[in-house]
């Protein structure tokens, strides 16, 4: 009886093993081979043929790139979708491929590029497209010319303002598996990463590179958290810009409004002409709060506005109620389809001369130019002349970074004049340093540089500079609700409550 059971067991086991073989997709014991690409080949098809499953293509890419380091006759595959006939590939054994695929995941693209003796530099950011990616490449080029033996790995995660990137990064930090350096909005966003546990302070780097002398004092104040610097800022964007279509204003004989009274007058005149006076796109959830932060700065003034974020001014202050009233009145002039549009979708109103004004950060400048639209003008948003609502991207130094020395070299490049001059004209932002050459920048950016040097600099909450992340989330939620409720008193109470919960207000 026992023997029969045993036999059954063996049969069952054999079947299980056979199934495992099918599932793990190794039809035969494939040995390591070299392969020369023919026209029409794809990594996917090759992986399917040699390794039994198309999904194993990263194993081919990784083994080929690794081989390329010692033997340059093998190809170096920068982009899996761009391979050329004649390239020599190294197809790993089924076992090696299996082991690699077990360790690999799309969040660790650095594994695809082999490991050099001189090490790597894994730069994690959310800059994937357009001017942002070009700017990043500019920084990479400078770094590459200084440290040619270091392999730069561009570990990007797409998603506006990093809202997909941050969850990925946080799980990596908690798991003790950080990239070498990562993008971080300068300011209190750093609180969300628990810097004392997960990041290294950068005070030494600021001292050795003389960064305290070249950044404006207001910026240094924003960068400091718990008495230390946690990131080197590479650029500056301005949040409070009113973009307008010059020809609409010229036809109507109007000038861009500087005060709130002028804004209402201009908006009424435009409405009478059948143009949408003020356009917004709010589908991303952050755009309405972005406009409100500028309304708040333009209503309360620089000093009170800053005080709201430091606890010196309570949110029960009358200017907050006034700002909410202004915002509410602004919403009566807005395009009806704003919840279906992103900010650039709303920008098409200006491009198509159907809408006259829009408040958006100065990344809109790059977007207008990419659209071939030249008829735009700019001014500080109503009431905010002399105020620069700033946000900035910086690079940090996580603890346990696998290539710490390379990362330190990287943040030094980010802070250097050379690095910032390479990055910012392409990204469409201005230098955090005050000594960049204006001739490298376009007309708008030159005016922003002048303002950066002379205006009162205040932080943007929506873009991570002014407040900790949980507070920003509450702030945004309150404003999103306000757009439909219009409840000034209730929203003001919610904003005060958010400040209390953040531990800033009492």
């Amino acid at each position: 009886m026992f023997r029969r059971t045993l036999i059954n067991l063996v049969v069952v086991l054999a079947m299980v093993l056979a199934m495992v073989g099918v599932v793990s997709a190794a039809p035969q014991a494939q040995a390591e081979t070299t392969y020369t690409i023919k026209l029409g080949d794809t990594l996917w098809a090759l992986a399917e043929k040699y390794l039994g499953s198309g999904t194993a293509w990263p194993a081919i890419m990784a083994s080929t790139n690794q081989k390329n380091i010692e033997d340059a006759t093998f190809a170096y595959i920068r982009n899996a979708d761009l391979i050329h006939p004649g390239w020599k590939l190294l197809i790993p054994s089924a076992e090696t491929a299996k082991a690699f695929m077990a360790a690999y995941s799309p969040t660790k693209p650095e594994l695809l590029f082999g490991k050099r003796a001189k090490g790597q530099l894994v730069v994690a950011s959310w800059w994937t497209a357009g001017g942002e990616a070009e700017g990043l490449t500019g920084l990479f080029n400078i770094y590459g010319s200084k440290y040619p033996d270091v392999q730069i790995v561009n570990a990007t995660v797409a998603g506006g303002a990093g809202f997909v990137f941050r969850p990925v990064l946080k799980t990596r930090l908690i798991a003790g598996d950080p990239p070498d350096t990562f993008q971080l909005h300068a300011g209190l966003e750093v609180e969300g990463y628990d810097p004392e546990t997960y990041l290294e302070p950068m005070d030494d780097i600021f001292a050795s590179e003389g960064l305290e002398k070249v950044f404006p004092a207001d910026l240094l104040t924003l960068l400091e958290y718990k008495g230390h610097y946690w990131g080197v800022p590479v650029n500056i964007h301005r949040s409070n810009v009113l973009w307008y279509d010059k020809s609409i204003f010229a036809d109507a004989g109007l000038t861009p409004p500087t005060t709130w009274d002028e804004f209402w007058a201009v908006a009424d005149a435009l409405k009478a002409k059948g143009v949408v006076p003020f356009v917004m796109g709010t589908s991303g959830g952050w755009e309405a709060p972005h406009v409100f932060e500028d309304v708040l700065a333009g209503t309360c003034g620089a000093e009170k506005y800053s005080g709201l974020w430091t606890g010196a001014v309570q949110w029960t202050d009358g200017c907050v109620a006034q700002a909410l009233e202004n915002f509410k009145r602004m919403l009566t002039y807005v395009n009806t389809d704003h919840p279906a549009l992103s900010w650039d979708g709303a920008g098409h109103y200006l491009v198509g001369k159907k809408g006259a004004m829009m408040i958006m950060g100065d990344w809109a400048n790059g977007w207008f130019e990419a659209q071939g639209y030249t008829g735009y003008g700019w001014a500080p948003s109503p009431g905010s002349k002399g105020i620069f609502v700033a946000l900035s991207d910086s690079f940090s130094l996580p603890k346990k970074a696998p290539n710490r020395d390379n990362a330190i070299a990287w943040v030094k490049v980010c802070g250097s004049k050379e690095g910032q001059e390479a990055f910012n004209p392409r990204k469409g932002s201005i230098c955090a340093r005050t000594d960049c050459d204006p001739k490298l920048f376009n007309e708008y950016l030159q005016s922003a540089m002048a303002d950066w040097a002379s205006d009162a600099i205040v932080p943007s909450p929506v873009h991570g500079a002014a407040a900790i992340e949980s507070w920003v989330t509450d702030f945004k939620d309150a404003i999103v609700l306000f757009v439909t409720s219009g409840d000034v008193a209730g929203t003001q109470a919610m904003l005060q409550q958010a400040c209390v919960e953040a531990g800033t207000c009492k």
């Binding site: 009886m1 946080k170 709010t282 389809d337």
Partner: protein, 299 residues
């Protein structure tokens, strides 16, 4: 006694690995999530000191969460009723042995084959209202073209519609599935039963109500369970189609959970939302499980 041991132990050993894996990776983590929801882990750095029910209290006092719960109920009810009604109607019509039945069946069933992300993107375009200045788009444009301009609405951009517009897309996707279930059920009803009813003088309407519908009850129940838990967990469709919407009119607890966990670093609060969702799905599923277990015992 020895025989009993071997006969029993080997199968137990064979299923043990999967039992352990499920115990750890499903029930273990459910338990962990439940535990986290009672802690103070509302920063990136884990903090497992207990907070009692505080996370739940703040959650239910949160305006956004209240809206989310209401949205979820509205969505679930609309989605369930519409899917069942449309699915039954389609199945009933197809059951009339019409020509080209296979073709129609495939057409109605196809939407189920696409993912909610694809559905979301497509319906985002279809239900994008456009505006007076830039011109109508999508369905509104269609209304304009055929002279039904008065039917134009703001769809998901209108806070009064909001989540209901999302339900339209979800119903489009899932009603074919309900049709397939009902069709199988209808085909399983023996012709003799209808004949018998006809002999007794029942009208076709009476046959429908008193013979067919009661016999389809198990299928209706099964469909409610499947659709119900899809409705409670809906997230991908919202992300692709509308986001949280104007004044959170398209927001659901699952979206809020993601926001509060990963944007605001309130891990404990996120775990509370997850736990509430689990309990709600449980309320829906457990009676069904009990029912089908009892059925099995009877057979």
């Amino acid at each position: 006694m020895r025989r009993w041991d071997r006969e029993r132990i080997i199968p137990i050993l064979l299923i043990l690995p999967s039992v352990i894996a499920i115990a750890v990776f499903v029930y273990g983590f459910i338990g962990f999530t439940g535990f986290v929801s009672f802690t103070k882990w509302n920063k990136l750095l884990p903090d497992f000191s207990l907070a009692g029910l505080r996370n739940y209290q703040t959650l239910f006092a949160n305006r956004r969460f209240q809206i989310d719960m209401r949205n979820m109920v509205v969505f679930t009810v609309l989605f369930l009723i519409s899917c069942l009604a449309i699915g039954f109607l389609l199945a009933f019509l197809l059951d009339q042995r019409i020509k080209g039945e296979n073709l129609f069946r495939s057409i109605y069933l196809f939407p189920m084959a696409v993912s909610f992300i694809v559905t979301g993107v497509a319906w985002r375009w279809l239900l994008n209202p456009g505006s007076a200045e830039m011109g109508s788009t999508g369905v509104n444009l269609l209304f304009d073209t055929v002279g039904l301009g008065f039917l134009k609405t703001g769809w998901f951009t209108d806070p009064k519609i909001g989540i209901k517009a999302v339900a339209i897309a979800a119903v489009w996707q899932m009603s074919g599935y309900v049709m397939a279930m009902y069709l199988a059920g209808l085909r399983g009803i023996p012709e003799e039963l209808r004949e018998a009813a006809r002999v007794d003088g029942a009208s076709e309407v009476q046959i429908l109500w008193h013979v067919i519908v009661p016999l389809l009850r198990p299928i209706t129940l099964g469909a409610i369970i499947v659709l119900g838990h899809i409705a409670l967990k809906i997230y991908d469709l919202i992300v692709a189609m509308t986001g949280p919407g104007i004044g959170f009119s398209c927001d659901v607890p699952a979206y809020f959970m993601w926001d509060t966990t990963f944007q605001a670093n309130r891990f404990a609060q996120g775990a509370s939302i997850a736990t509430i969702l689990l309990v709600m799905v449980g309320v829906l599923i457990v009676p069904y499980l009990a029912y089908s277990l009892r059925k099995e015992a009877e057979v």
